[in-house]
Symmetry: C2
């Protein structure tokens, strides 16, 4: 998505430790008009699939998933990162390591909201090592649901998450794939 690559080049900031800050428009402050363009692009890429639910994980995926869901006319379900007293005992539970926060946490989803009849599109802001997406894949498998695709806004192509998912045959589409990045330049992989 050319407009996204331009926005990342213009507004993104590269930090030590392969961190790309896009918090001015994507995951702290959110440019809702631009995220609508992202939602339309996800619909262009996955709109032919019989999606019944969009699945993401809190927190930064939620807003993108909600805007995107408007084009698919399906509900969003977001997995939660900590056991809340508001959640019933009947839960899907998987573990996810967060390199950003440098810890492992449980990711939980109420069994009421995902079952074998569901056709799921996963949406998230970033894909690096793939821990979050793989956690959601575990939940989808446990539910017996069908994975229709994984839509990522920004993939760090120099980390393994995307390669591993594609090797597994996952229908993964990333709107921008970073080949390399430094203080001075961000290079993207060519896309159709």
């Amino acid at each position: 998505m050319k407009a996204l690559e331009e926005k990342i080049r213009r507004d993104g900031q590269v930090r030590p430790g392969n961190i790309l800050k896009v918090d001015s428009f994507l995951n702290h402050q959110m440019d809702i008009n631009f995220i609508n363009e992202i939602g339309k692009e996800f619909y262009r890429l996955f709109g032919d699939r019989p999606v019944t639910k969009i699945l993401t994980v809190e927190a930064s995926g939620i807003g993108i998933a909600c805007i995107t869901a408007q084009y698919f006319h399906v509900p969003v379900v977001f997995a939660k990162k900590a056991k809340s007293l508001n959640l019933d005992g009947s839960l899907y539970i998987t573990q996810v390591k967060s390199y950003t926060h440098n810890r492992t946490f449980d990711v939980i989803l109420s069994k009421k909201f995902l079952n074998a009849d569901d056709h799921v599109l996963i949406i998230d802001d970033f894909l690096a090592n793939g821990c979050a997406v793989n956690g959601l894949l575990n939940i989808i498998e446990e539910a017996g649901a069908t994975l229709e695709g994984v839509g990522i806004v920004i993939e760090k192509g120099f980390q393994e998450g995307g390669k591993d998912l594609r090797a597994k045959g996952v229908n993964l589409k990333s709107l921008a794939i970073i080949k390399s990045m430094s203080d001075s330049d961000i290079e993207f992989e060519e896309q159709e």
Copy 2:
């Protein structure tokens, strides 16, 4: 908002400890068509204010804030509940007690995304004791920004948060205010 009251009566579940579960449409699974109606109602209530930013706190407020922001054509900024390695040192920080999770955590917002020129509408899913909203008010005050209003989907009118905010003169509008609730019935306060 009558449609919301009906949905809470139909789909909400009252749990011990004054917990109202609305996770089938609001804060775990999200009914995006219905949340659009909520966003339109917030625009009806606050659309006359010169709002420049919608402020919420992760996680369950984010989706509602993003859908609502489409009607105001302004960005969303969401405060984060834990210090992320991705955040700069230049932060607004306040403490919020969560009765749901039974712990106190830091709520942080990058100073880049809120300043004295901003006119802020706070949006959140629930208001009970008001800890989350008061934390956001501290951040708005520290930023020197102007509070234009607080829009809440469900207020627990039998707890003190709403009364305290109105006593402070805050322009608080809750789409549904619960007067009392039990396994058998949920009673709402009359609204214009």
